[in-house]
Symmetry: C2
C-alpha cells in the first residue's frame, strides 16, 4: 500500500468524535491514513500552539495503512508533531474534521478544525477543513460524506496554491450542489452569562450569537449554506491586506 497517497487527518472535536471517524472512513478510500487528533474537545482553539508545557501522544490503532494517535495538544500541534515525529514522509494531504457545527464566515478565525487545515497549507500540503452545519454529537454524516469525497477528489486532481487551503461547510439535510464562495462578513456578538459561584465569586460563560453583515448576499458562504449548497472558501494563510497598501500611501509616519 506504499504507492497510495498519505493522508494526515486531524480535528478539534477530539479523537472520539463521530465526525472524525466518518472523515477517516472516506479518506481510507483514497489513501493510507494517519489520524493525529486531540485526546479531548479542543473547539475554538484557532491556530493555537502549545509552547508552555510538553505534549504527549499515544498510538491507539496500528494497522497496515491506518494508524491513529491521540495527542494532548491543539489541532495545530497535532499536525506539527505528525510531520516532525510520527510520519516517515511528508503527507500528500491534510484533512481536518468533519467538525460538528459550521465554521462559515468569521468562525474560520476561531476554528481549531481550520487551524489544522491552515497549518497543512503553511507546509505547502493541499489541505481541507470540513464542517457539517449540525452540532449534534450523533449527527448524520451520510450525505456529507459524498461531498467530502467530491471536494477531496478535485483537490487531488487540481492541487492548491501554496498558503491556501479550503474551508468546506456542508449544510444539514438535503444538498443541492457545491459553490465556491467568499467568507461572509459578520461577527459573533458575545452575550456573556455572568454567574456567581458558591464562594460568591463571579464567573462568565461565553454564549454569543452570530450577526450577519451580508444577509442574502449571493456568493457568500452563509448564503450558499442557506440555499442547501456546500460552501467552499479558499482561505489564505498570507493575511496581508494588499488593498490597504493603497489607502496607506497617504499616511505620514
Amino acid at each position: 500500500m506504499n504507492d497510495r497517497p498519505l493522508i494526515l487527518i486531524t480535528n478539534d472535536d477530539g479523537v472520539s468524535a463521530k465526525g472524525l471517524k466518518e472523515l477517516t472512513e472516506v479518506m481510507r478510500l483514497f489513501g493510507n491514513v494517519v489520524v493525529v487528533a486531540p485526546d479531548t474537545h479542543r473547539s475554538g482553539m484557532s491556530n493555537a500552539i502549545t509552547v508552555d508545557h510538553p505534549i504527549r501522544i499515544k498510538k491507539t490503532i496500528d494497522e497496515p495503512g491506518y494508524q491513529v494517535y491521540k495527542c494532548s495538544g491543539t489541532p495545530v500541534d497535532c499536525v506539527k508533531l505528525a510531520m516532525n515525529q510520527l510520519l516517515d514522509k511528508k503527507p500528500d494531504f491534510v484533512v481536518s474534521g468533519i467538525n460538528h457545527g459550521s465554521n462559515s464566515s468569521i468562525s474560520v478565525v476561531y476554528s481549531g478544525t481550520m487551524g489544522g487545515a491552515i497549518e497543512g497549507c503553511i507546509h505547502n500540503i493541499p489541505s481541507i477543513g470540513f464542517s457539517l452545519n449540525d452540532y449534534d454529537p450523533e449527527a448524520d454524516f451520510s450525505r456529507a460524506k459524498i461531498y467530502v469525497a467530491r471536494v477531496f477528489q478535485q483537490v487531488a486532481e487540481n492541487g492548491l496554491p501554496p498558503f491556501v487551503c479550503l474551508n468546506v461547510n456542508i449544510p444539514k439535510g438535503d444538498i443541492r450542489g457545491i459553490q465556491v464562495c467568499k467568507q461572509t462578513a459578520g461577527k459573533w456578538v458575545e452575550e456573556f452569562e455572568k454567574r456567581t459561584d458558591p464562594h460568591t465569586r463571579d464567573y462568565y460563560w461565553m454564549a454569543g450569537y452570530f450577526e450577519n453583515h451580508e444577509e442574502d448576499v449571493p456568493g457568500t458562504d452563509i448564503h450558499a449554506l442557506e440555499g442547501g449548497f456546500v460552501s467552499v472558501v479558499p482561505v489564505n494563510a498570507d493575511m496581508t491586506c494588499y488593498q490597504t497598501f493603497e489607502t496607506m500611501k497617504s499616511w505620514r509616519f
Copy 2:
C-alpha cells in the same frame, strides 16, 4: 476626561509583562485606558476562545481614566469580555502588546497578541498589535515607544478599513524609520525535543526554527526589520483568497 478616546489594551504575555506597562504608558498620553489582559502567559494562543470552561476577571487598578483587569482567558476572550461586560461604551481603539518577541511573517497566525488585535477589527474598531523583536522580559522599550506613538497617531488620523488591523513589529536597537510591508512567506520548522519522564513515558517540547522563503526580498516585513525599520503589515480578517477563485473556475465538482 470623558471626551478623550477610550483605548482598550490587551496582550498575550500577561498582565504583569513589562511590554504591557510600556504600551499603557504611551496610550495614556492619547486617551482613557482600560487594560484587560490575561492573568498569565498566553503566548501562541492565536485567536483562541474559551468555550469549555468559565472565565474569571478581577479589577486590579481603578483610577479616573485608567483601569486594569486581569482575566483567566485568552487575549481574544479579554477583548470580547471588555466590550460585552466591562466597558460603558465601545472602545475607539484596541491595541495589543507590546509583545516580547517578533510576530512577523507567519507568526501572525499563531500570535495571541495579534489575536487580540484581529478581534478588535472584527468589531470594526481600529486595532493594532505591537511587537518588539526582543524576547528578554526586561527588554528596553524606550525607542520602540516613540514608534508606537507614531503609528498610533496615524491610525487615529486615518482610520482603518473594517476587518483590517495592523501588525507592527519593531526592531531591537536603533530604528531607521517605518515601512509598510507584506507578510514574509515562510514557516516554522518544528524540531520537537523528545524526552522521557521518570515514569518512562515520552513527552515532546516544541522547539522550532524559522525558515524564510523570501530571504532578502524588499517589501517583506522581515526584510524591513533586518534593515532596522519598523514593519507595518495590514492584516485582513477576511481570509478569503480571491485570487484562487480564478484557478478554481476549471474545477468540476
